[in-house]
Symmetry: none
Subunit: 111 residues, 2 copies
DNA sequence: GCCGTCTTTTACAGCTTTTTCACAGGGAGA
DNA sequence: TCTCCCTGTGAAAAAGCTGTAAAAGACGGC
């Protein structure tokens, strides 16, 4: 979270992430997220359209080495999906790549 | 999968393998592969135009000694051929060398 | 302490992938 | 041609991964 300042705003479809303000807007409306949720979403959006391993996400968000079998990332992906679904029904932002990890995409395409 | 990072992209005809992104493109379109499929294809493309024994492929992809009579490599070669055929009909990338092993070739020539 | 909120851990069902098996068909040498 | 071994492949069994609810733990405010 410390590194939030200086990170530029990110636009991704109907989402706008402003790390420096700890804020996410969905179609201009603020989305209420917890710290973990915000950081995980930010990490994903910063890596949009790329498959990201749980290990990389865990290191980035939790700031410590990933312990195999830790399910925190999965749980928070679930939380984010729920909130994003509430905010933008029918849309799917976070894709699962079985055996690899997750991928954020604002446009409903690729892979 | 751990060793995926740091491996450079490989181009081979209409294929592009990007191990570091867990991604294979066929004429620019992502090809959906499982972990084993991706690793086996990567191993073959890295050794393109050479006959590779099952033993070598097994050691590389499965990371353990090859047990004689294990058919895993054959099964996965079959899966890859199927998916490549769907993606590029009429093309043959993976050649069988009876009694020796397999060989990947992007150009439709030699044996 | 007691609450409310957030985070971490656990458990399990459901699903996907991987492995194993069996058999048909093919290739090479005698 | 005959025989033996090798390969292709569908399908069943086994293993492994993911989604998710819920329990348990942490932490701060009152």
């Amino acid at each position: 979270m410390e590194a939030a300042l200086g990170r530029p705003p990110l636009r991704a479809g109907e989402l706008e992430v402003r790390p420096s303000e700890f804020l996410v807007l969905v179609n201009g409306e603020p989305l209420h997220l917890t710290v973990r949720e915000l950081e995980l979403l930010t990490a994903l959006v910063e890596r949009r359209n790329r498959i990201v391993t749980r290990e990389e996400l865990y290191r980035e968000v939790w700031g410590e080495p990933y312990r195999k079998a830790d399910r925190s990332v999965d749980v928070y992906v679930g939380k984010l999906r729920q909130k994003l679904e509430d905010a933008v029904p029918g849309r799917r932002f976070i894709h699962t790549h079985f055996g690899f990890g997750y991928r954020f995409a604002a446009d409903s395409d690729r892979t």
